[in-house]
Amino acid sequence: MRKIYLVLPEKCTGCRTCELSCAYSHQIDQQPGTPRIRAYNTKPPLEKGIPVVCFQCDRPACQEVCPTKALQRNLDTGAISIDYDRCINCHACYAACPFGNIHIDPINTRVAKCDLCGGSPKCALFCPTGALSYK
């Protein structure tokens, strides 16, 4: 049975621990990468928040517009992940995602998205409130 990545916005406080853990788990040249999850404070400071992260859509626009088939669903995790060997950095996926869930890493200008950390999402691991979970 495949695990499910669950977001419960009502539990989110907007503490942004998820962003931090994501950035550090996707390092580029020993520098933190851009977080592929963003948590917005709706009632600052730190009372209510909304995490925005890739929905891993059933029919992902990013995947459909990718000219190199670099975006594929990982059958174990269900995540749409980027095969950087195939990616030609055309940014079509970035343009196509209607939710803003494809990011551009400022360090190398490569596109980046949530890949569920290959099966153990660090955001869920470190989320102090249980707003993010993977089970």
Binding site: P9, I50, V52, P67, C90, A96
Partner: protein
């Protein structure tokens, strides 16, 4: 089916080529013209390997074009491979003498002496730019022109690229970064063209997207309505966040939020 690389048994699938298999297994093979998203082309000839044949009749060939087969055994580091790869590198370095990519390879593969006259070119003619543009992006703005030593990869007749969409993929895949790609706040300049950058309709921030590229992307799917591809990532996320907030606060159901 299993093959042997430097004597190590390696699992492969039918139709795979030795280069991709070897790299997956952590072996290093240099190449300039190979790209995982494109079929093998065999243009740069750097990825030489030696195939063991019957009665010691070994053959040097390119790993990128060598399909795996039952009983195949290749070696990556024989004297024959090293000697020929050195000469191919020497030829490439004579062509483009100041490329850090090539200089690094020369260092690594023991090319110490340059005997050929430098040509002062910038492009190694690997062809990735035109192949990516034609076979992947689909803009068909670049091609191989001329022939022999007078070969160029460029837009038709070397004029400003009429069919270019300014996506910049050619510049990205170029192994010797010889394609000039200039981004300003408002424009993208490449192949003699200046493209307008679309701006986020919400905050005005310039997007990494030209109108031409947007139209090309639209043609790949029916998912994108004209309203889409107008916002920057940040504004898109804020919109997403607000929608989610309304769902959480019960102002909107999940069903209507879904597109």
């Amino acid at each position: 089916m299993d093959i042997l690389i430097n004597g190590k048994k390696v699992k492969t699938r039918k139709g795979e080529h030795v280069l991709e298999v070897a790299r997956r297994e952590g072996f290093e093979i240099p190449s300039l013209c190979h790209h995982a998203a494109l079929p093998p082309d065999g243009a740069c000839r750097l990825c030489l390997v030696e195939v063991e044949g019957p009665e010691g009749k070994n053959k040097v060939t390119t790993a990128c074009t060598l399909e795996v087969a039952q009983g195949l055994s290749v070696r990556l580091d024989t004297p024959e491979v090293a000697a020929n790869r050195k000469v191919v590198l020497e030829m490439l370095l004579a062509r483009v003498s100041d490329s850090p990519t090539l200089l690094k390879l020369a260092d690594k593969y023991g090319l110490l002496e340059m005997r050929l006259v430098p040509q002062g070119e910038k492009c190694v003619l690997c062809g990735l730019c035109a192949r990516v543009c034609t076979e992947l992006v689909g803009a068909k703005a670049l091609t191989m022109e001329g022939r022999g030593t007078e070969t160029y990869f460029q837009p038709p007749f070397g004029e400003p690229a009429k069919d270019c969409v300014g996506c910049g993929s050619c510049a990205f895949v170029c192994p010797v970064t010889c394609i000039e790609y200039k981004k300003t706040d408002r424009t993208i300049e490449i192949w003699g063209r200046t493209f307008e950058r679309l701006a986020c309709t919400e905050c005005g921030e310039p997007l990494d997207l030209t109108p031409e590229h947007r139209d090309l992307i639209r043609r790949r799917t029916d998912l994108l309505t004209p309203a889409e591809m107008q916002l920057c990532g940040g504004c898109e996320r804020r919109t997403t966040m607000k929608t989610m907030q309304r769902v959480v606060e019960g102002q909107q159901t999940l069903e209507t939020a879904r597109r």
